[in-house]
Subunit: 318 residues, 2 copies
C-alpha cells in the first residue's frame, strides 16, 4: 500500500518541518518512514519510501516539491536542447539511496523490500508540464507532435528509471515497482507505439541486470491498456479499482500475476461492508494466475490506521 505513511501520526511527526525531497534523501528518515507501516500493520512487504522526481533531482533537474501542489520543475522540458539536462543516473550520485536500502534490509529481516521508481511516461509528464497537470496537454502535444524528440526523452528517462531501480536491488531490494501514475490518460494505440517501448526498456534493463527479481508495474485508469502493459514485461501488473480483478487478469494475460485492487474509499465504509469487499477481492484474486492483495490506489491521507490494520489482519486470515 503506497502512501500508507500519509495517514499515520508517526509519519507526520517525523516529516514535520522536513521537505519531501530532503526526507527522501536522508537514509534515517527513509528507513523510519518505510518501516512505519510494516511495524503497524505487519504487511508482507515494505515499499521503499521515495518520490517519483527523486532520480530527476539526482541527475541535476531543478525540482522542488511544494506542499499541496506536488513537484514543480524549474525549467520545463520543451526542446531537443533540454535532452542535455538529462544525463544518465549513476550509483555514485545517489549513495544515500543504497544506504537507505541497506539500513532497511537490515531492519526488515525476512520481510522483503520492494524498490520504487516512476515510469518514463509519468516522469516525462512532470518534466514537460513543469508540474502536476489535469489534462497533460503539453506532454501529449510533444508526444503527438514530435515523436523522435519524445522517443529520445523517454529513452533517457527509461535509463534513469532503470538505474534508480537497480541501485535499490544491488543494495538489497527483493522486488521492484515501476509506477506510471498518469499513463491512463493515453489512448491504447498511442500507448503501444509511444510509451510502452520505454517502459519495456526500463523493465528489461532491470531484468538483464537482475534476472530473478520480480517486477511490478502499476498505473491508474489503465483498463484499456492492460494487455500492452502486461506485454511490457513485468511479472506483476497492478490495477486500480475501476476494473474487476479477474477481468483485469484476463486482459493482462496468464503469464502475469495481478496486484490490487480494493477501492481505498471503502476504508471509510462500515466495517461489514469493507470486510465483504476485502473477501471479494481475495476471492477474485483466487480466480487469477497469481494475486498480490493491495489497494487499487494510494492510501488516502484521512484513512484510519486502525481500519487498515483490520484489513491486513483479515487478508492474512483468509
Amino acid at each position: 500500500m503506497r502512501q500508507a505513511g500519509r495517514s499515520l501520526p508517526e509519519y507526520r511527526r517525523v516529516r514535520a518541518g522536513v521537505g519531501m525531497l530532503e526526507s527522501c534523501r536522508t537514509p534515517e528518515l527513509v528507513t523510519e518512514i518505510t518501516l512505519q507501516p510494516v511495524r503497524r500493520y505487519g504487511v508482507d512487504a515494505a515499499i521503499f519510501f521515495s518520490d517519483i522526481v527523486v532520480p530527476l533531482a539526482a541527475v541535476g533537474v531543478g525540482v522542488e516539491i511544494r506542499p499541496g501542489v506536488g513537484p514543480v520543475i524549474d525549467q520545463p522540458f520543451r526542446t531537443a536542447a533540454d535532452l542535455d539536462r538529462l544525463p544518465d543516473l549513476h550509483a555514485e550520485q545517489i549513495p544515500d539511496i543504497g544506504e537507505s536500502v541497506r539500513l532497511l534490509v537490515a531492519e526488515l529481516g525476512p520481510t522483503p523490500l520492494i524498490g520504487f521508481a516512476g515510469a518514463p511516461f509519468t516522469l516525462a509528464s512532470y518534466l514537460v508540464e513543469g508540474g502536476p497537470s489535469r489534462d497533460l496537454v503539453r506532454t501529449k502535444a510533444l508526444m503527438y507532435g514530435d515523436p523522435p524528440l519524445w522517443a529520445a526523452l523517454l529513452e533517457r528517462l527509461a535509463r534513469i528509471s532503470a538505474a534508480f531501480l537497480t541501485v535499490q536491488i544491488a543494495a538489497g531490494a527483493r522486488a521492484v515497482q515501476l509506477f506510471d501514475s498518469w499513463v491512463g490518460a493515453v489512448p491504447a494505440a498511442d500507448y503501444r507505439r509511444l510509451v510502452q517501448p520505454a517502459s519495456a526498456a526500463a523493465l528489461d534493463a532491470v531484468h538483464r541486470a537482475f534476472p530473478h527479481v520480480p517486477r511490478i508495474h502499476f498505473g491508474v485508469g489503465t483498463g484499456e491498456l492492460l494487455a500492452d502493459i502486461g506485454a511490457a514485461g513485468a511479472e506483476v501488473v497492478g490495477v486500480d479499482f475501476r476494473i474487476p480483478l479477474d477481468e483485469a487478469s484476463r486482459r493482462i494475460g496468464p503469464q502475469h500475476a495481478v496486484q490490487g485492487n480494493l477501492d481505498p474509499a471503502l476504508l471509510f465504509a462500515p466495517w461489514e461492508v469493507l470486510a465483504q469487499r476485502v473477501r471479494d477481492t481475495v476471492e477474485a484474486g483466487r480466480r487469477t494466475p497469481g494475486h498480490v492483495f493491495n489497494l487499487g490506489h494510494g492510501v488516502p491521507p484521512t484513512a484510519d490506521p486502525d481500519v487498515l490494520a483490520r484489513v491486513v489482519d483479515l487478508v492474512h486470515s483468509l
Copy 2:
C-alpha cells in the same frame, strides 16, 4: 464541444468581472456565450452554457463557484436531515433558464440547441464532498456505507436533473445532454447497483415528458461502464479518448449512437497529425451505428480557436 468558450477571447471579454453562477443566470450572457462557438466555428449544434451546480443553487443549496477551484458548497450533504435541503426544482424557480433558451432558439434559427444538466452521481459528489475532490472518498463512503440514504439522495437529484432538462426542452432545446463528469471513478458492479438507477430515472423522466427528444449521456473514464451507461437509456452515449470509438460502440450496444472522441491534447499537435486523427475518428465513427463527432473531453482553455475552426471545417468536408 463543451467548454469551447474558455479558449475564446470574446468569452473572456463578456465574462470579465462576472461570476460564473451570475453568468449562468443572466439570459443575455447565456445567449451570447452559447452562441459564440456557433458563430466562430459553424458547428452543427449549440450546447447550452450552464454549470453543473446551477440547479442545486436554484433549489436553495448555498454554493459558490470559486475561480481556479470550482464549486464550493456551504453546508456539505452528510445525513438524512440534509435531504430536506433538496426539494424538487420547479420551472418557476428558473424563469431565466427558459428565457435564455427562448432567446437562443430565436437567434440560432435552424441550428439545434442541446440542453445541459449534471447527472445525479456528479451532483451528489459536489454536495457530499463540499467541492471538487480527487478521490471522492466521502461520496463513496456514503454510497458504500449507507445505500438507503444514498439512494434517496440520488433519487432527489435525478428529479432535479430531469426538471432542469425539461425546462430547457419546453423552451425549445431539441436534444439534451446528461453530464456525469466523475462517474468513471465508480467500479462497474457498484455503478449498476448504486448509480445507474438514478441516471436512468432522470433520462426516463425526460423521455416520458418529451418522447421525441434525443438524450446524450456522457462521462469521463467510463470504459468499464459503457454497457451499463447505454442501458440507462440515452439514445447517444458520449465517450472520452481513452477507448477506440468502435470498441466503445461495441460495448454500448447497437441501439445507441456514440459521441466523441478526439483527444483534446491533439489540438496542440502539428496540423497534419491532428488532421489525420480527425479523419481516423470520423472513419471509426462510420463503423458504428451512429456517430456525433466531438472532442473526447472539454476544450482546454489554451486551445487555439483557429485550430478548432480548421477541425470543424475538416469534419464538415469528410
